[in-house]
Amino acid sequence: MGSDSRVWDGRTESNAEMDIGPTTPRWADRLILWLCQERYAEEILGDLEEYYFKLDQRNSKFKTLKYWYQSLQFMRLYALKTPFKRSNTRTMLNMNLKIAVRSLKRDKFYSFINIFGLALGIATCLFIGMFIKDELSYDQHWKNADRIYRAVGHLRFADNEWEMATTPAPMSAAFKEDFPEIEESARFRSMGSAIVENNDQLMIKIDQHAFADQEVFTIFSFNTLKGTLDISEPNTVVISQSMAEKLFGNTDAVGKSFEYSETQYQITGVYEDIPANSHFHYEMLCSMENWSNSTNKEWGSNNFRTYFLLQDGTDYEKLEAKFTTVYEKYFSPMLAAVSDVSWDQFLESGSFVDFSLQPLESIHLHSDLSYEIEQNGSFQYIILFGASGLFVLIIACINFMNISTARSSTRAKEVGMRKVLGSLKRYLINQFMLESVLNAVIAAAIATVLLYTLLPFFNNLTDKSIDNPYFGNLMLFPWMLAGTLIVGLLAGIYPAIYLSSFKPIKVLKGELRLGVRSGWMRNTLVTIQFCVSVILIFGAVVINSQLDFIQNKSLGFNKDQVLILNNTYMMGDKIESLIEELREHPTVVNATMTGFLPTSNNRSDSPMVPKESTANDDFVSLQIWRADEHYIPTMNMNLAEGRNFDKNLATDSNAVILNQAAVDKFGFDNPIGQKLKPMGTYKIMGLDEFKVIGVLDNFHFDSFKENIDPMVLLNVRSTGSIAMRFEAGKTDELITYLNKTWVEFNPNIPFEYTFMDQQFAAKYNSEQKLSNLFNIFSGLAIFIACLGLFGLAAFTTDQRKKELGIRKVLGASMSQLMIKQLSGYTKLLIVSMLLALPIGIYLMSKWLENFVYRTEISVLMIAVPIVAVVLLAWITVSIISFRAARQNPVNNLKYE
């Protein structure tokens, strides 16, 4: 085995290039090379690599974990290097470990409280770490992620302001021409969900698709699985792997074609599904050549998502600043087309156009604009979660410190003895630190079990799909190891210094009144624990109240008992007879045909002006919704003035109904009968004049975080879905009936329905998540804090057994004894309330400011955490003190 020509990993150089297998976990290999004797290294590593190779071929799960297990199994005495076999360090380490294990076993009760609390804290932190790491990893997988930027628009026009994730169609090409810093640019035109049909009449629904420029594949590193990603020709399309499987099963999809919106598309390539941590998940990308508007030169409408790949080393903020030089060039012709305002007048009136760049990796957490592709995450929530996780961990660490120092008297003799026998303070600190780290390691092991067991629950709660947090993409394992060590050291440092500083002579003579001296420190720590608990509970209460407020606030329409039938536009002309038939059914109260619902995300806005208006800033940007005369009764909306659409009036074809917000914005005193027209020379839905016939009371159709926007209801056919109000308690009957009827009309179209209240709840998904997590955190925090308090109270009561005995002999009643015990802790509780509540109120008012429509912080909300914490703390301490106070004093006094 004495070959001299070794490379680092135990194989001879001439053979090093033979490696064909998958890469084995590097750190495990290094550990073996570091710890095991060199003469065994080659065969051990060889066996392990072959083992890994075989696992890989069998597609075995948890490969890395198994590899580590096998690697660690080689850490046996015969294989280890000699310095590890016989050295003083090792003997001392063994010794200290033995003592640590003994002390763990001696006081099982306190060890349990310590370790269990710590395990819960670590598990919480791991869950949060997992969540945060996943959120932070968004869009980092694209090869040029650091050079990709998304253009976003910020426009102000008279009284209307937009901040949009979309841009005008010509911007991409024009800016690439104007600015050499832009290496490549491309556009998506997002289209939401769609139904496509393969040649066997199989229809499938996809959630997200877009028309795209060929250049998107230069900017984004899509992984090609089959064919080539080429959509430069019209009627070509590339699709994701999962869509290919849905459409064509296991056969090769390239070259096949399918129908989408009455056009045959030919598949040129299949790409790997876009990873979950991306801000878009297009399942199919159609050639932009099929999108007639893609070549228009219209700077006034914003429908395209523009992405730029910048040259290496470009400062994007400097580039942004340069954008201002071209606005006039592009926007003044547009301005001239719709009004007679000059560019200078436009700017003077306070209007502006401004485009900026968002670094790709920041989109998910930092962008919250109109017309985002998907709902993004929130950096604020990341901070909130991170802080709460840390707090829970701190509470658990404090338990450890408190119980360790409180129990110091039991270790004092040991410390004294060791010092007398010549132990240095340094060694004692080492010993106690090791004990603390051992605790942390055991806790981390339990936390790992918890983590993997509760993973499905976590994924469910946060809408993520993480399957192996330690060794999967997230690679949490090194963080966990480092974290455990840090927690062990942090929690151990105070007890270690405290315990090791005993004066041996005093201890051995019994002069030191132990466990009492550091009382102030323990009290401070307990106060901090309860402070944190109170803040977390208060946070949970406020978030829950706000969600309740949203759920129960009168919305201006009734979201309950409404079923929405999707995909109805696929029915074509049959939709009329379908809706007629549905209305006949006894369970259906009313039904309306529309793609625009207060709970859906289907939105589009256009400006309108009063017909006689000559001023250029009179226009109002309106949400344009299309519906029929059944809309208002089905939604249970309330007409403040005027009347509903009437099918029998031919003149109603250009009738519109405004909401109150639109009336206010137009400034109409007498809205009924007012005439409106689109701005400039455009038409909206083929119409160039509108007559206001009614005014709707305001209803909430956007998030409670924003004011209600002006909107207008047009009496124009929209076949996106059918919404029907049905009789309570008849849900099952209705669905059976709908399914049957649907199949009779067309069995090939997917039958899909949702309920309006569910759609509404989905809009507050992230708040709901926040609320769930906060409930869990606050519950854990108070539980761990009480666990610690329980241990501490048990210990101090044990110390004061004699005092209690004497008091009892001298005639103290049980209630007096208990009150004496409780009052000490109650003082701490009061202090922690006084500290925590102002902080909590400040933080939560900040959070509530996110909402335009919000609940107020009430006395009740403040009372809940106070009562909860005081009660729980009292119960905890009472359990201990009741037992102590009930004891026969003889038992406590007869021993000396």
Partner: protein, 117 residues
């Protein structure tokens, strides 16, 4: 030199080395062990046993060709020595001897039970 007794695990490993003849190295022996006994053992445990057997002089080893799935590392092939064979024989003889001394326990036991009933 440690004692030359064979532990149960060592004995099975030694038997496996004898059975496998040509291609007896750590991972292969571990796999065979799991197949034949249905028990699991870490590769490290097998490796450790092989080294103990080598120390006791029951097996000897040499390095063989490198293969690609081992990342270009060589195998250490084990083969049984004469002493190993003797040790196995002794162990087997001991057992056979003891077995022979059991007084017909199958039939006797049955008879005893019948009588008792």
């Amino acid at each position: 030199m440690k004692g030359s007794q064979l532990g149960e695990f060592e004995e099975i490993i030694l038997l496996l080395v004898a059975v496998m003849q040509e291609d007896a190295y750590g991972l292969a022996i571990q796999e065979h062990f799991q197949e034949q006994t249905g028990r699991t053992a870490a590769i490290g445990a097998v490796h450790s046993a092989l080294n103990r057997l080598e120390d006791k002089g029951f097996v000897e080893s040499k390095l063989a060709e490198a293969t690609a799935e081992r990342g270009g590392r060589r195998k250490r092939l084990f083969s049984m020595t004469l002493a190993g064979k003797k040790a196995l024989q002794t162990s087997k003889d001991l057992r056979n001897n003891l077995w022979d001394q059991i007084p017909e326990f199958g039939m006797e036991g049955l008879k005893a039970t019948l009588k008792w009933i």
